[in-house]
């Protein structure tokens, strides 16, 4: 069995009023991940340490944080991936308002998700089914791997440095919109919304979202850039506009509008 070693951690402790990095020491063991170390601190030293987690298997996307300044899932980051003699810094996701310690308020993402007009398939075929071929949905399946850890939203500088969490869809929702736009059965045209409401133009292709995605979704090349090109087809390409005028263009989809959302009222 490998020899145990001690690891030094600097963990952010605080809330929206302020906070600091506090030092902890934990004993490591083979296969230990950063989330294990946080749990160890919680169990043995600091029961009030707040951390959001669930599956510990990289599937739920709950334990997103910044480890040595890089957005990562704590449950998928091995302690052995860091030099032994250096402390490991664990801080909450910087782009979202802090609640306590490592827990942030990611509700801006849920509000953004609610704004996306839902999938509306064409009518079923005569035998009561829809048919799609594999080649038609290959691209979309990649986007379905998303676990909504929001690391891409965290690292996106439009949200992180320019504070546009409520104004810009961000990478997670741009691939959701791309998945809908590319869907062979969908009948809604969301491109105007992608341009004006979800503001795809804010993205300047710096690819940080792709770099941090734990599911290795090629967000930029397969989602955002194709979406930008599709918006360019409709709004920035005079040549296509002329061709559409003469040929009628491809079959028109129904224009989508932002859903009117009703605030839930009443006491809990």
């Amino acid at each position: 069995m490998a020899a145990e070693r001690k690891a030094q951690l600097k963990v952010y402790r605080g809330d929206k009023e302020g906070g600091e990095l506090k030092d902890y020491e934990v004993e490591t063991y083979p296969g230990m991940v950063v989330l294990d170390a946080i749990h160890d601190i919680q169990a043995k030293q600091e029961p009030s340490l707040a951390v959001r987690w669930n599956c510990k298997a990289g599937r739920c996307g709950s334990c997103s944080a910044e480890i040595n300044g890089k957005p990562k899932l704590m449950c998928m980051t091995r302690m052995t991936s860091f030099p032994e003699n250096e402390p490991i810094t664990v801080t909450p996701m910087k782009s979202f308002p802090i609640i306590k310690d490592l827990v942030t308020d990611v509700s801006s993402n849920f509000r953004m998700a609610k704004k996306i007009p839902a999938f509306r398939p064409r009518p079923k075929e005569a035998d009561g089914t829809w048919r799609m071929q594999q080649e038609d949905i290959d691209r979309i399946q990649e986007f379905r791997k998303c676990i909504e850890c929001f690391l891409c939203q965290d690292t996106c500088h439009v949200i992180r440095d320019h504070g546009k969490a409520e104004d810009f869809a961000g990478p997670r929702f741009l691939i959701a919109l791309a998945g809908l736009d590319m869907h062979p059965l969908d009948t809604l045209d969301r491109r105007e919304l992608v341009k004006d409401e979800f503001k795809v133009g804010y993205c300047n292709i710096t690819r940080c979202c792709t770099e941090v995605c734990p599911e290795h979704i090629n967000i930029t090349d397969n989602g955002i850039i194709p979406m930008k090109e599709r918006v360019a087809d409709d709004y920035f390409d005079p040549l296509r506009w002329v061709i559409r005028k003469f040929t009628g263009g491809p079959e028109k989809k129904e224009k989508a509008h932002l859903p009117v959302l009703q605030e839930k009222t009443g006491s809990k």
Partner: protein
């Protein structure tokens, strides 16, 4: 109601602010140096307006040959390269890969992932002044046109000699340049969109399966778009430099047959 993001001092803000410990600045620094070097070199060569033609060899910075005699007497000398470079220059400027490269290295917007930048809530991205980046596809059409000239130059470097067919180092250099630029141009994201990326249902679209197969091939090329971008940039610089050296007599163009 939307809650406001609270940035705590310990979480490092401002230009270069980060808790990252790796050498995040190396990539942008290398990009800055290499792109600056190419810009300086190509600008100098464009103003030099000489040493670009040797036998059938023509420098890619001056290809195709443009007659600039109409600009005689202008306060600033006008060379063919100054006109030529607008085409490939705008293709590279609006390229989705180079955008990442120079937004990081030159505009520091951001300098690297999870590294702070000069804060600004007036950010417009590519919705303001930079909205013209949406016209990348038109620069692609121009770049595809240039490929014909460059392959013509490469073939001319083989068969364009007065005494028959030659295979020289210069022929190989011109061919390599045309090959690398073809790889870069045909791996472009806008080209990928054009050949099939804009189709939603390949199984029912006109020539859908053919477009799907082409799209798949271009997608494979596209995965290495960054490598094509850099190698083709070096290719252009080295090809021009080689032809200049041959023109000035600094090196002898070795002949294989």
């Amino acid at each position: 109601m939307a809650s406001k993001s609270v940035h705590l001092p310990v979480l490092q803000s401002g230009l270069g602010g980060t808790l990252r410990r790796d050498a995040w600045w190396v990539g942008p620094a290398i990009t800055f140096v290499l792109l600056s070097a190419f810009i300086v070199y190509s600008t100098w060569r464009a103003f030099e307006n000489a040493n670009f033609l040797y036998g059938p060899y023509l420098s890619p910075l001056y290809s195709p040959l443009v007659d600039t005699s109409w600009a005689k007497g202008w306060p600033i000398p006008v060379s063919g390269a100054m006109i030529i470079l607008i085409g490939p220059g705008s293709f590279r400027f609006t390229c989705y890969y180079y955008r990442k490269a120079y937004y990081r290295a030159f505009a520091m917007d951001p300098p690297a992932c999870a590294v702070g930048e000069p804060r600004g809530h007036s950010y417009k991205g590519e919705r303001g002044l930079l909205i013209f980046q949406n016209l990348h596809r038109f620069t692609l059409y121009v770049a595809i046109g240039f490929l014909f000239f460059l392959w013509h130059d490469a073939i001319k470097g083989l068969v364009g000699w007065q005494d028959g067919v030659h295979l020289n180092v210069g022929t190989l250099v011109l061919t390599m340049n045309a090959f690398l630029l073809s790889g870069y141009t045909l791996s472009c994201h806008a080209f990928r969109h054009l050949v099939g990326g804009n189709v939603n249902s390949y199984s029912t679209a006109t020539a859908g399966m053919l477009r799907y197969k082409i799209w798949q091939k271009v997608s494979k090329l596209n995965m290495n778009h960054m490598a094509w971008a850099w190698t083709s940039l070096f290719g252009v610089g080295l090809t021009d430099f080689y032809i200049r050296c041959v023109c000035t007599g600094a090196i002898h163009d070795m002949r294989f047959f």
